[in-house]
Symmetry: C3
């Protein structure tokens, strides 16, 4: 059922404007191309409104924010909202510094995001003011587990209700929810945590998915999460014994570029709660 | 005949100063090393004049321009011109935003570029004020085809005559021209379009080629285009069925690093018109 | 003997704050993850003090410095020093421009660095005001060789004594010294010089090593150098005949991610002088 959302990305080739960090930006561009979208990067305040206007979606990632790019995020977000574009927020490191938490909160106050995607610590930092973000990784104490699953689903649906956004929390178990339905996704491999930027890549790809599927944002966001996790499984299966995290990074993007909707349908592991 | 220009890059190890975007900068550095050059990146206005002074060539790419790097481009370009260095402009996204089109035009007004390299939409945006740049990719409507080849060659030679620069337009068919001669190049694979930054990489490598071959700029620029396309063909031939666009990116740079002048002579597919 | 310092990185998962260049930053993040650390990147002055406070170590690399990141380096360095964190300086391009040489000197005047790691030209530029830095690579005239080894060891120990820092000079022969002892290391492959950022990667990894091993900084820094060189040997041994510098880059990080302390003990090639 989710595979068709990938097929539609490939048919529509959505143009995605990214204001993202310089750490993982190349991988974000390559994964957007791999899934069938077309990426553009621009963070200069004087440039972002024109660039976002020719795109269909906007991906805002605060991973290496600075004073200039923060202005760019606000200008691009405002313009994209006027144009009814899909807009995604990846609040990298929210909870880890006042500037990051504050910037994410400011953006959330002024722009309506179609999707907010982060790890559980980042989402808790924004949703309930706690969450002990360990740098850019979630704290183990916050993790979504089989034991706390019911209450975490409840939290995520509640945050979706209060923001009016689809909320995507990724980790060992991924949750993608609006106020009423939550996709609980169990694709992926723990080794993906040893690669920098799988979260950033997912945010870029998810923006392509929700841009191409504006009437099915929840399903499209869930499809992107399943695709990333499935690519992690496929990429891992092809590693030689001497290949480690850097080759794995490439093989995940490779698997996205070769994935069909049918393959995604067969490999997606989720339930709806 | 073109292979010797690669051999000369390897002999001279030209130092290339790059003011380039943060999306593809790592690949640009690796491809310059791969072809035999030595890359330095610096965009801070207070730093660029010293850095460009110790180099032999300057590669200006406006892919993620900002107010500070634009100042850096002008200062470095002015200094490089005083020192008679090879200077290349890659007007990424010209036609897609006023800032990009305006910045490229300003630079062209103040600095004489040895080579201008872009996709056809970017070059049309600069050369005749049209060109419907689709983000950072050329619009299909602008493409150089067998059908419009004569008129495109005429356009490119005319733009070369009016700027005094060698013009390199890359796409399915590549054109590299001065006012009198045009290399029409048919190397490459369509799959290269699914990798971010092959154009940026080519600009970096081309700057190394024209820096090492100052008396044969047209031939050196054409050699760089053939080398990139041939590397795309070689890299593609070694992909396993589970390897996609991210591994392909690496294999193209690999093929450059292993390419000999003799191999380039045999693999280059071009005619001179 | 040195392998245990790698094991300890894996046990402690040190959080490393990096203010580093945008050219090689993705590889720096991946290599820190590969060795067992956890990387965070932040250079915005308003953000760096909070970020460095939640980390255990700070890696300052001036590769693509700008006015804003220079302020960030000073603020982060001051805060990290107050918190007794491990702090490393990688003075990329010191000697190549006044801004780089001056920034490195300013930082050295105000912050006590646990380790200073660079190529020989950079270290000479800082230590004795000479050194003919060839861009971001060492000049061949400065190289550490078997012939000048005694005098180079003497210079490096002297510079360690005058700064109170461990000095790591990397090249064909690597030297890692405090005022009394010098590790002379002969791991690595000359082909590593054709990959951008092996030095930056080493600085990131070394910061993880010295953060996790605060009571054995000299040994931990030497262990990081041996690990990088050994990874270069292992990665090279797995290259197919059609794989070149870009795949090699990935395989080196792969080898780090798979390296055990025992493997490092067996493969490390060094003497103490």
């Amino acid at each position: 059922m989710l595979g068709k959302y990938l097929d539609i990305v490939r048919e529509k080739t959505p143009l995605v404007h990214n204001i993202t960090n310089y750490v993982t930006v190349n991988d974000v561009a390559n994964v957007i191309l791999a899934c069938g979208g077309s990426p553009i990067m621009s963070d200069e305040p004087e440039d972002v409104e024109d660039i976002t206007s020719i795109c269909g979606g906007l991906n805002i990632n605060i991973g290496t924010l600075n004073q200039s790019s923060i202005r760019g995020m606000h200008l691009a977000g405002k313009k994209a909202q006027e144009l009814h574009h899909a807009i995604l927020l990846d609040p990298v490191g929210a909870g880890a510094s006042r500037l990051r938490t504050g910037t994410a909160a400011d953006l959330l106050g002024k722009i309506h995001f179609t999707v907010i995607r982060g790890n559980i610590s980042e989402i808790k930092a924004l949703g309930i003011g706690t969450g002990t973000t360990k740098g850019v990784d979630a704290d183990a104490a916050d993790a979504v587990t089989e034991e706390n699953l019911d209450s975490m689903i409840c939290f995520v649906k509640g945050y979706a209700a209060s923001t009016g956004s689809v909320i995507a929390v990724t980790g060992a178990i991924d949750l993608v929810a609006d106020s009423e339905r939550c996709f609980v996704i169990r694709n992926g491999k723990p080794q993906m945590g040893k690669i920098t930027g799988t979260g950033c890549q997912l945010s870029g790809m998810m923006t392509a998915f929700i841009t191409a599927n504006p009437d099915n944002v929840l399903e499209a966001a869930a499809a992107a999460v399943c695709a990333m996790g499935l690519a992690g499984e496929i990429g891992y299966s092809h590693l030689a014994e001497y290949e480690g995290n850097s080759t794995y990074r490439n093989r995940i993007i490779d698997a996205i570029s070769l994935m069909t909707g049918e393959q995604l349908d067969k490999g997606a592991k989720y339930e709806i709660r």
